[in-house]
């Protein structure tokens, strides 16, 4: 019996009579959901990090008188097919469940509802999984796409084997091979590589490599090769439960302020790393007090508030999704 077939893990396999008896005994305590439950709407205060974007959009719409158009662009009927916008397929559509497979030398352009476009490279296989206002999702089995999305965060996602690439606004390239190995490069905004057990944020100007088991640490596109190697080396060592002082020292020595997201991700993924030289390095990059022992100890313990406090300080590239005029005029 493989590890994945174990009764304790799968909850359906048999072979452990004692376990089954415990399940039978304890099932009487199972939660009984309410037959009817109703909650009142929650008023949403504007969040700090979204406020600048909302203000910019409001100003733009007021100047151009396009408030109604903005709402129309975001609205999409559930299950409505997406339109192709390339010469070869113009006038045709991709329905939910439909598959687009480009041949050698063949390209395609697909409208993502009314919120953006995907340029599909040759030898790429892509399917439309779901589409509705606030939730558009495709699966990239292999190949390359370039996505430009003009919508609030998490309205669009690409499913790859073992993970999702979630758009947080607004432009990125994604490559995946048939083994599920790939990389994502962000040109504008952010994306999140999301697995059940790991999430990695990638800002504009960075690339993230991944496979079906995990994602690496995002690196600046023009990061030095030696710096990148040291980051990978340290990440893998820590995953294996080991330490690598030489890699850690190399990173601390070579990192520039533009590498702040690489270091933040390292420290977030491996909180105990804050015991070493990278913590004060990032503190200096962010203008945070490097001598705050309380904060450092909280970070070492993996305290979410302490970690979020520094992510809030990090410089974010401006959210540009409201500026994508060429996408806004499409269709």
């Amino acid at each position: 019996m493989s590890a994945h077939d174990e009764p304790l893990w799968t909850a359906v396999a048999h072979g452990d009579a004692e376990l089954e008896r415990l399940e039978t005994l304890l099932s009487r305590y199972r939660h009984v959901p309410l037959a009817t439950a109703r909650w009142t709407r929650v008023d949403v205060p504007s969040r700090t990090w979204r406020a600048p974007c909302a203000a910019a959009v409001a100003m733009l719409c007021a100047v151009l008188g396009l408030a109604g158009w903005f709402g129309w662009r975001l609205q999409w009927n559930q299950g409505a097919p997406w339109a192709f916008a390339d010469e070869l397929r113009d006038g045709t559509e991709l329905p939910v469940g439909g598959i687009l497979e480009t041949r050698v030398g063949e390209r395609a352009r697909l409208a993502v509802a009314r919120i953006g476009a995907i340029d599909v490279s040759p030898r790429t296989r892509l399917s439309l999984l779901a589409t509705r206002s606030g939730g558009h999702r495709v699966a990239l089995e292999s190949g390359h796409i370039h996505a430009r999305i003009w919508a609030p965060p998490m309205w669009f996602a690409v499913s790859v084997e073992g993970a999702e690439i979630v758009d947080l606004g607004c432009e990125f390239d994604l490559w995946v091979d048939r083994a599920g190995k790939g990389r994502a490069t962000v040109q504008g905004g952010w994306i999140m590589h999301a697995r059940a057990d790991q999430e990695t944020l990638v800002p504009a100007g960075y690339t993230l490599r991944f496979d079906t088991d995990r994602a690496e640490i995002p690196l600046r596109n023009d990061a030095d090769a030696g710096f990148g190697a040291a980051v990978r080396q340290l990440d893998l060592a820590l995953v294996a439960g080991a330490v690598d002082p030489s890699a850690e020292a190399a990173i601390a020595l070579q990192a520039t302020p533009q590498d702040v997201f690489t270091l933040l991700t390292l420290l977030t993924r491996h909180p105990t790393l804050a015991q070493g030289a990278l913590y004060p390095k990032v503190a200096d990059m962010l203008g945070a007090p490097r001598g705050d022992g309380r904060h450092r100890q909280a970070w070492i313990r993996g305290n979410a508030d302490a970690i979020n406090e520094w992510w809030d300080r990090a410089p974010r590239p401006p959210k540009q999704w409201w500026r994508n005029w060429r996408d806004a005029q499409m269709g």
């Binding site: 304790l8 959901p33 969040r47 999702e164 979630v166």
Partner: protein
């Protein structure tokens, strides 16, 4: 096994709930109530655990707009639940749980044994207790537990195996065939 929740689906429903969708509220409640209930059942009598579960969701939905990482609704509401405690008052004796949960199909021996097992579960360390509650009480699989709680599959496996080893020892049962003292992820 049911496919585990995807972060994308969770975020989509959180967003819809913030926009006032009752369907989204219901979806979140149905998916995550077992998690919250398991946390409360680990330290409170069953009837109280049900009440606390409702209160946890009331608190969570009132604060939903404060959730910055919408896909992490599970760990977030779990943290809310852990911070809650039952209002002070006379604790129900374990015997009350026998009367509360005995089904017509089970005899008094089953009810007594169930209460004994639940008591042993409650004595486990928190990480093992909560994971085993989801597995043994709510009937969830390892991948479902990982997706719900935000734990890595490796951590869930460790919690399940080590928790079961401790539980069997507490109940005076022999160790299971697939349990080892150290489990690799």
């Amino acid at each position: 096994m049911k496919p585990p929740l995807s972060p994308f689906e969770v975020a989509r429903h959180v967003r819809a709930a913030i926009d006032g969708s009752q369907q989204a509220y219901t979806w979140l409640y149905q998916r995550f109530a077992p998690l919250v209930h398991s946390i409360h059942l680990g330290i409170a009598p069953r009837a109280t655990a049900e009440d606390l579960t409702q209160e946890s969701f009331d608190i969570a939905f009132a604060r939903l707009s404060q959730l910055r990482e919408m896909h992490r609704f599970g760990p977030w509401i779990a943290a809310i639940a852990r911070r809650q405690r039952a209002r002070p008052g006379p604790m129900q004796a374990p015997l009350d749980e026998l009367h509360a949960v005995a089904s017509p199909a089970s005899g008094p021996d089953d009810a007594l044994e169930a209460a004994r097992v639940l008591s042993a579960l409650r004595d486990l360390p928190e990480a093992y207790r909560e994971t085993l509650m989801l597995r043994l009480v709510e009937g969830m699989s390892g991948p479902e537990i990982a997706a719900l709680t935000g734990l890595t599959p490796g951590s869930v496996r460790v919690n399940l195996h080590r928790g079961m080893t401790l539980l069997r020892a507490a109940l005076g049962h022999p160790p299971g065939n697939n349990e080892v003292s150290d489990v690799s992820a």
